[in-house]
Amino acid sequence: MITTTALTKRYDEVPVVRDVSLHCEPGTITGFLGANGAGKSTTMKMIVGLVRSDGGTSTIDGRPFVELPNATRVVGTLLDASAMHPGRSGRATLTIAARLAGVGTTRVQRLLDLVGLADAADKRVGTYSLGMRQRLGIAQALVGEPKALILDEPANGLDPDGIAWMRTLLRDFADHGGTVLLSSHLLHEVQATADHVVVIADGAVVAAGRLDDLLASSTILVRSPDPVALAAALRAARIDHVPGPGDAFTVDVGGGRVTTEVLASTARDHQVLLTELRPSEANGLEQLFFSLTGAKAASGEAAA
């Protein structure tokens, strides 16, 4: 279990992470979603003690990371796949990690097989592609047979096959009771991998919850050949709505109070004919994420 409460970091009085609280349960994959520079890496590095926090706490299995007697045996980390000595082979890199963790070096060959690096194991890491380094980094994270994984942008540099492989691997890890926290700046990546999502923007959490809940549409589109009568019916039933797109109306689900069924019976009660009734295509998470990254890109363009 990985927990943080109100983690905060400032550089030169400028907050880069503000009151970030996470809660990752065993058996789940939590996606930490945010644009580049939103504070994902800094938060992860605070969890493992590489960066000192200016406030808040974080624990793994109830203990601060720096108090874990042999951290690798509890939580595996991949924070920067390029941070490896280029002059050492993949096998040597893993062997060092295995020896430090105190696990048998027979595990090294099994991990090399698992991540698909058996053929390149004796080549120097300096000759590896980023995707191969990510695979080696994942093997290194798994070396101590941990119960939790903290992975910063693990899909970076992996080809589509590699990404599919990694998803299967992480799902398998979680299904065996493991806890996974992974970050990504790609919405579709998190959608395909995680079952819980925490969205961070400008250092602060802006949305968190189960992926299914966040993906659920927050609006319903409803259309009638008689829009005036439909608007009157919605008003009478005290249902929030805005006109558009076209002659249809977009209805707010009101936190789940309003469903397609509620709208259908409202229309029936007011004798209004409906020709279209469905959840809006753009879901809440997409709208939120694109409004955040869109705003970021726009301000970046304005600055440039």
Binding site: L50, V51, V66, P69, R73, L79, A83, R88, K147, G177
Partner: protein
């Protein structure tokens, strides 16, 4: 499938009784030793240390008229040969992981950074001690050559001479460690390790204060030649200046620094 083989040992309610103990310090030292010696670059550097020392020891063998044919003299040239590049080895031990950014791995595997620093210190002293022993063997070989060629030798090998020799080598190693720990970047630390003593030698010609209290070519030379009497205060001050103070500051910085 291999994946289930890998994760099968950890159920959701894995018993906490299997929580492993802390990493033993000896294991940290062994791993740091391996990291300091297992790359091609590290082995080349160590080979160069050996080569430069051998070349230095060869000079009194081939040019006996310019050197005393004594143990002290041979140990002295061995020490000077060793300490050309040995401080660089010590520096890289402390800066290499910052340059390669592998501190990210090292400090997440052992988040008690002080233990990693202590292990690296132990490795630097082992390397220094090993190098001193190697230099001693070369000096002995040189003496044997000299003796075989019929030169008269003084039986002058004293505990004081050996102690001064060993201490001189270790002080040079520790000064490298201190610079590396303080600057945490290979190129500036290596440049400083050559430039600072040279600058001291220049300043020493202008100021006897620098020459007598700081310049290692005078203060540590007293150590090498075991001339302790009358120089203890100067030697102590220069050890504070080159080793103790920068090492303390460097360790504090290493332990506190954010790994961004």
């Amino acid at each position: 499938m291999t994946t289930s083989l890998t994760f099968g040992t950890h159920g959701g309610a894995a018993a906490p009784s299997s929580v492993p103990g802390p990493i033993p310090f000896a294991r940290l030292v062994r791993v740091e030793w391996a990291k300091a010696t297992d790359t091609r670059a590290a082995r080349w550097l160590l080979a160069l240390v050996a080569l430069s020392t051998a070349a230095m020891v060869l000079t009194p063998v081939v040019a006996p008229e310019s050197f005393d044919q004594t143990w002290a003299s041979y140990l002295r040239v061995a020490a000077l040969g060793l300490t050309i590049l040995l401080p660089v080895v010590a520096i890289l031990l402390f800066t290499g992981e910052w340059s390669q950014r592998s501190v990210i791995t090292t400090f997440t595997q052992e988040p008690r950074r002080m233990r990693v620093v202590n292990a690296k210190l132990a490795v630097s002293l082992l390397l220094g001690g090993g190098a001193a022993a190697f230099g001693g063997v070369l000096a002995a070989a040189g003496i044997a050559c000299s003796s075989a060629s019929g030169r008269s030798l003084e039986a002058d090998l004293t505990a004081g001479a050996v102690g001064g020799y060993l201490l001189f080598v270790l002080l040079n190693v520790l000064a490298g460690v201190a610079l590396g720990a303080l600057l945490q970047s290979s190129a500036p630390a290596i440049a400083a390790s050559f430039a600072l003593p040279a600058a001291c030698a220049v300043l020493g010609t202008a100021s006897t204060l620098v020459a007598d209290w700081i310049d290692p070519s005078s203060t540590w030379n007293w150590v090498l030649e075991a001339e302790w009497s009358g120089h203890l205060a100067q030697i102590s001050f220069s050890v504070l200046f080159w080793v103790v103070v920068p090492l303390a500051a460097g360790v504090a910085r290493t332990v506190r620094r954010d790994v961004a």
